[in-house]
Amino acid sequence: MKNILVIGANSAIARAVSRLYAEEHCRLFLLSRDAEQLALQKQDLQIRGATEVDCSVFDANNFSVHEAVIDQVLDRFGSIDLAFICHGSLSNQAQCEENFDSALQEFNTNALSVISLLTCLARHMSTQRSGCIAVITSVAGDRGRQSNYVYGSAKAMVSTYLQGLRGRLFESQVDVIDIRPGFVDTPMTHAIKKGGPLWSSPEKVAHCIVEGIRKRKHTIYAPGYWRLIMLVVCSIPEFLFKRLKL
C-alpha cells in the first residue's frame, strides 16, 4: 500500500493513473481546482479499490498555498511515496506571441507552479530519504517548434529542472521521473483534430506511466515510440528545421 499525492487530479491522464493505483489498493490524496470532479473521483476510486481517498480543492497558480497544502497531505498520510504532478494547460501559441501576459500565465501554470511544488516536495522527500517524484512534461519540450514553443519551453524548463533535482536527490534515495507524453486524446487537446496512429488514449498513456514509475525510469516517453520520434525530430539540422512549419 502506497501513499500517493496527485496534483492536477482532474486531468485525464491523472484520472487514468489514479484508477490504476486504486486497483493496487493505494491511498490517494487528490488536488484539483474542481470540487465537483474531486467528489466524483473520490467515490469512483474507493469503489475501484483504493484504501483511502482524500481530496482538497487546490489552484496550482496560487503559489502561496503550496507549502501549506503539502503539509496538509503529510498530516494526513504521514509520508508520501509518490508525488505525481500533472496539472498544466495547452497554451494558445498565437495569443502568447502577441501578449506577454498570456505567455507569463502559461509559464506560471506549466513551469513555475511546478517548480514551486517541487521545492516543497524535494525538501520533504530528502528528509524522508525515500519516495518518488514524477512530473508530466511533454515531448514538446524536447525541441522548440514554431507552432508551440511557449508550451514547449515551459515544459523544457521543468525537464531541465528535474534533471538537476534527480542528481541532488540521488543521495537521498529519492527518484525523480520526467514523463513526456506525445499526443493524447484528452479535454486539453479538445481543439485539435484527432485521429491517426500517433494519438493515444489517456488509459494507454497511464499504463506506460505506471509501468515506467514501477521500473524507476528517469525519463518515460508515453507511449515509448515517442523516444524514437523525438530522436529524429531533434537530429534534424537547425538550418533545415527552421524552414519546417512544425
Partner: protein, 442 residues
C-alpha cells in the same frame, strides 16, 4: 468533424461535446448554442456512448459524448447493486467486478459499449432466452429531461418514461447514471460445448433442446446452400464453478488501417465459412475457455470494422417469431446468397419472450445477424430482405440499422406512437434527435 459509428456507414458532420460532469451536461442542454450565422439556437442532438451502434442511431449534427461521464458512484457488495455514470463501459465494470466474483447479468457481443448505450439499445446477450435484455436488469436510472430536470425512473417510479428510455435510442433524454444488478457467478471461465449441425432445422431443434443452458449462440455458414442451408456451429456455455475469477483481457491484435475491401468477396468468404464450419469439433467434451473468448471473440481484434474497407459495412439483424422462423430465415439466406452477398460472421440466437420496453427489439423467436460490406447494390437487396422479414411478422434491430424505411419501422414497431407521444409531451422531440430518428419519422 466527420464521425461515424461502428459500421462506418453513414458518416455525419457533427459538433462533438464531451461534458465532464452532470452539471456541465445540464448546462450544455440548457444554454443556447451559437450557430454558424451567429444567432443562438436551442440544443438539438443526440447522446453517444462508445459509438458501437452500427448505423446512424448515435449520429446527429450535435453529439453529446458521455465518455467523460465515467465514474462509478456506488456499489453494494451484499446485493451487487452498482450505480455508475452513463459513460462507464461494460469493460470497466467487468474489469473491476469480475475479480470480486460478480458478472454483468447481460452482455452483448462487445464489452466496449457504455452503460447508457446498453440501456438505450436495450441490448441482449447469449442468455436472452432465460434472462431477457440489459434493461430488465436496470434497477433504476436518472434521466436528464429537456427542461433540465433530472428524473428518477424505474419500473415503479416514472415507469412509462423508464420503459420508453430502455430501448429508446436516446430519444427521451440523456441518461445521467443508472443502477444495475450485478450477478454472483461461481467462476468467470466458461465451460463450452460446441455442436455441429447439418442444416437450419437441426440447429433450431438443438436450440430448443438446450433451452435450459444459460448461454447459447450459433455461428451460421450463410453461404451454404441446398440441404446444407443454415448449417451451423452451436456454442453452449455455462459458468465454470471452480471459483477462479479473471476479467476479460485486452487483445494484442488490431487492424491498423482500412483494408482493401475487395479482399472480402464471395470466394474468400465462402472459403472462410467452409473452413470455419469444418474445423475439428468434439461435441461430446466440454472445453474451458476464458469469459472474454466466449462472450467477446471479436474484441480481441481492435478495429475489426476496418476489415470492411473505407466504405464500411452494414449489419443486418432481424428477429422473427418462432412459428415463422424456419421459413423466414431460409428465405433470407437463399435470397442473400443468390445475390452473391455473404458475411464472415452470421450469428443465430434464440430469443425468449419480449419485454415492456416500447422499442425493445427482442420478441420470442429467432434472430439472425449478418454483416454485409457496403456496396451500391446492397441497399436494394436489404429492402427485399425487409419485406421477407416483415411478411413473417419480424423486425429489425435499431442499434444495427442504418437504412430501414419509415414505413418498415412503423409497421414492425407498432408501439412507436407511444414513444412519439411521450416525446411530444416532454419536448424531447425538439431536443433529442438522431439521423435515425429523423429517418424513421419519430
Amino acid at each position: 468533424m466527420q464521425i461515424h459509428s461502428w459500421g462506418r456507414y453513414p458518416t455525419a458532420d457533427a459538433a462533438l461535446h464531451s461534458p465532464r460532469s452532470p452539471s456541465a451536461l445540464r448546462r450544455l442542454l440548457l444554454d443556447a448554442q451559437p450557430n454558424d450565422s451567429g444567432a443562438t439556437t436551442a440544443f438539438d442532438g443526440i447522446a453517444r456512448g462508445l459509438g458501437r451502434s452500427y448505423g446512424d442511431s448515435a449520429l446527429a449534427s450535435t453529439i453529446v459524448q458521455t465518455r467523460e461521464l465515467d465514474h462509478l458512484l456506488a456499489f453494494d457488495a451484499d446485493t451487487g447493486l452498482l450505480t455508475c455514470a452513463a459513460g462507464v463501459s461494460l469493460d470497466t465494470i467487468l474489469h473491476c467486478f469480475t475479480p470480486r466474483g460478480w458478472f454483468l447479468p447481460v452482455v452483448p457481443g462487445t464489452r466496449f459499449v457504455s452503460v447508457g448505450g446498453a440501456i438505450a439499445s436495450d441490448v441482449h446477450g447469449k442468455n436472452h432466452h432465460l434472462d431477457g435484455t440489459f434493461g430488465q436488469h436496470v434497477h433504476s436510472l436518472r434521466l436528464l429531461q429537456p427542461d433540465g430536470a433530472v428524473l428518477n425512473c424505474s419500473g415503479t417510479e416514472n415507469s412509462a418514461l423508464f420503459h420508453a428510455t430502455c430501448g429508446g435510442m436516446g430519444l427521451t433524454g440523456i441518461i445521467v447514471d443508472a443502477t444495475i444488478n450485478l450477478r454472483r457467478i461461481p467462476g468467470s471461465a466458461i465451460n463450452q460445448r460446441t455442436l455441429r449441425t447439418q442444416h437450419l432445422q437441426e440447429v433450431m431443434e438443438r436450440f430448443e433442446a438446450s433451452a435450459a443452458t444459460t448461454y447459447s449462440v450459433a455461428w451460421l455458414d450463410c453461404l451454404a446452400s441446398g440441404a446444407a442451408l443454415g448449417r451451423s456451429l452451436l456454442f453452449l456455455g455455462e459458468h465454470a464453478t471452480d471459483g477462479h475469477f479473471r476479467a476479460p483481457q485486452r487483445g494484442k491484435l488490431g487492424v491498423p488501417f482500412n483494408s482493401p475491401a475487395f479482399l472480402l468477396n464471395r470466394y474468400s468468404m465462402g472459403l472462410f465459412n467452409a473452413l470455419y464450419y469444418n474445423r475439428p469439433v468434439n461435441s461430446e467434451t466440454e472445453q474451458r475457455i476464458e469469459a472474454g473468448q466466449y462472450f467477446f471473440p471479436l474484441d480481441s481484434i481492435a478495429h475489426w470494422n476496418r476489415l470492411y474497407g473505407r466504405k464500411g459495412f452494414l449489419q443486418y439483424q432481424f428477429v422473427v417469431p418462432d412459428a415463422a422462423a424456419l421459413a423466414a430465415i431460409s428465405l433470407v439466406l437463399q435470397r442473400s446468397s443468390a445475390a452473391g452477398k455473404g458475411s464472415f460472421l452470421s450469428v443465430l440466437k434464440k430469443f425468449g419472450p419480449g419485454n415492456d420496453n416500447i422499442l425493445s427489439f427482442p420478441v420470442q423467436g429467432y434472430t439472425l445477424a449478418m454483416d454485409f460490406k457496403f456496396e451500391n447494390n446492397l441497399l436494394p437487396l436489404l429492402d427485399e430482405l425487409d419485406s421477407i422479414v416483415l411478411d413473417h411478422g419480424g423486425r429489425l434491430y435499431l442499434a444495427k440499422d442504418a437504412r430501414m424505411s419509415e414505413a418498415t419501422f412503423k409497421r414492425s414497431y407498432p408501439r412507436w406512437e407511444e414513444l412519439a407521444q411521450l416525446r411530444a409531451i416532454s419536448g424531447a422531440d425538439r431536443m433529442f434527435n438522431s439521423l435515425q430518428s429523423r429517418r424513421l419519422g419519430l
